[in-house]
Symmetry: C2
Subunit: 379 residues, 2 copies
């Protein structure tokens, strides 16, 4: 018997309350059983997004949400700026190129965060840039970009919108959509929202809606203006993922019970403990600055393969963490503290790392990382 | 207390085995826990589709599958033919137009089925038509189009592919992808597959893959060639709806246990009983020919509103049926016998209709429809 522990940056564990709500007999998406649930989830998302903007619900994974932020607001040849500091930054570029946009990039060395000044300079020098695409938390490198500072820069430009991939940051970070003026923010169900994958969320500001009027890229499934019309009537355009929306409503209620401030604080505390514990083991973080509160990326010690550490955690101890992606593959492994995560998820992660490194012949003092975590997590 | 009965043409009821499998703690989409499940579901879909073609799994509702059959195989201005005989036929036209295709239509009067000869004539007169789009079961009218005959016509044309929306027909009809030569066939999770909404399936023939090489429409989320590459390695391109794929594997196993022939026969028997029972009540079917085995569309008796019948079934008796869509709204109501449906779903539907019509002042002989159904459903 090997008990299973899911400590990956998405899908993340699902609270039993949510699993049970989703296991109830299914209801019809046009029925009076479902409409109040959709309405409640819609309002809950606005609460979580800290916004009065529309927050639309798409039946797709997060990448579908990313695509919808391209094909609804831009036209072929439009110039846009992508902050590319990891695997998901690269995805922005690929999506933009697939749709024929003129994609400029600020390349950020993996493990680092973008300098807002650099973004400001690029926008100043090229007022034709219509959109700035960035990740809040870049899951592949475990780095958080300063969305507040970027918002401040972009909101000054009347013809430029800021598009934030907050897929792994939503419900982990205090992202103030309205206060900061984030035009478009994308979330996914399988991260901080503690749900299975299958839903994307996207908030849209008035400035972005205006831009959408001139957008000429073809759209049908991801047509946000039509999604807005339907959701205004507490309807979905097509059959939607009823089950996941029932779960969404339930999971938002759990977050509301805890309180938004406490949810963010919990993520911060757990992430801090994870990072300090890892360092206490003599390991190095992959994120050289602004480490994310959603996921901790750890450099494999010299001579060890990050994928092997991932594999040993899984095979020997039942812990599903994550390996590296793209250029970081083999170099790192990652543990998440995202969503339905608490003190003992950190303890399990650190304890597992201590034992796996020992198994692999890397000298760590057993219990020393756990002790550091406990000190920081003491109630 | 009002017990609930779901008799709508999707979402359809989910077997408890499937609900429970999906309620298990979630697993990671890149983990060794998930890969065998994906592989098994992939093979199961090929079994259900009766094909050796790729059957790809998309994280979207069925409409996303429909879109992917347009943006992966055609270029702007390409001429295509849509069989438009209902709400979902209209959707083909709208999708084609949204992507800039030159859409020709054969308009079929609602409640009727397309004449294969007419399709043959149109294709003969216009060899530039690259694709023929049709529904197998047109859910809005309760009519089945003769896919076998249409396949026979289109397979003769080397530059034309047949695209079948089998969303509500899959697992209800014996659709022989390889034997008949269906190029593209789209399914959805929430119909005959007895799952929640959130997955689309799409089979692609070699002829269609060849056509995809020249297709110039932009694509990223719905990029079938890339989906194929990933699935060949038992992977998904992005995070996928893990939970639904676990359910999919489970539901296909239930269908396999029953046997494909018996599954189709069950749908045929239930549909036949439903239709005869309805007629025994003096009601008229909306489908004037080739009524679908997935859903029965019934004309509201003179003076009664179909939406009111739907509403009374729901509010008074807890039965979620369906009303009419588009031009049929108000004129009809619909009951499904699709997926996890058995004898007593028909009995409940007919009994509910008898009582609601009585409540609404329309004279039916109580029990007479049920008697007819029982006679046809006797084991």
């Amino acid at each position: 018997m090997l008990k299973k522990y899911l400590l990956a940056p998405g899908p993340t564990p699902i609270p039993p309350e949510v699993l049970l709500a989703m296991a109830m007999p299914i209801i019809h998406h046009r029925s009076t059983d479902f409409i109040p649930v959709l309405e409640s989830a819609k309002k809950g998302l606005q609460w979580l997004y800290q916004t009065k903007n529309d927050v639309l619900i798409l039946c797709s994974t997060g990448t579908g949400g990313m695509v919808s932020s391209v094909n609804n607001f831009f036209s072929p040849q439009d110039k846009v700026l992508v902050i590319n500091g990891g695997n998901f930054g690269e995805r922005w570029t690929k999506i933009g190129q697939a749709y024929g946009l003129n994609v400029q990039e600020i390349k950020v060395e993996w493990g680092h965060t973008v300098k807002p000044d650099e973004v400001e300079m690029v926008l100043k020098n090229d007022p034709g840039i219509k959109g700035v695409f960035v990740q809040a938390s870049e899951t592949s490198t475990g780095v958080y970009h300063d969305i507040r500072a970027l918002s401040r820069i972009v909101r000054e430009k009347s013809n430029t919108i800021l598009i934030v991939d907050a897929i792994s940051a939503l419900a982990a970070y205090d992202l103030r959509t309205d206060e900061w003026g984030i035009d478009i923010m994308i979330g996914g169900s399988q991260k901080g929202l503690m749900l299975p994958p299958g839903l994307a969320f996207i908030s849209v500001s008035e400035k972005a809606w205006k831009m959408s009027q001139d957008a000429k890229l073809p759209k049908f499934y991801f047509n946000l203006r039509k999604e807005r019309e339907a959701l205004a009537k507490n309807q979905t355009r097509f059959t939607t993922a009823v089950t996941l929306i029932i779960g969404l409503d339930e999971s938002i209620k759990l977050l509301q019970k805890e309180g938004l401030g406490k949810v963010f604080k919990r993520h911060e505390t757990l992430a801090h403990a994870a990072r300090e514990a890892v360092k206490a083991l003599g390991l190095e973080l992959y994120s050289k600055e602004s480490p994310s509160n959603a996921v901790t990326a750890i450099l494999a010690p010299k001579g060890l393969d990050g994928q092997e550490i991932y594999k040993n955690l899984k095979d020997k101890y039942g812990i599903t963490a994550a390996g590296g992606q793209g250029q970081a593959k083999g170099k790192i492994f990652r543990i998440a503290h995202l969503g339905y995560a608490d003190i003992f998820d950190i303890i399990i992660a650190i304890s597992g790392i201590e034992m796996v490194l020992t198994n692999m012949g890397y000298p760590v003092k057993l219990g020393s990382g756990v002790a550091t975590a406990e000190k920081l997590l003491l109630k």
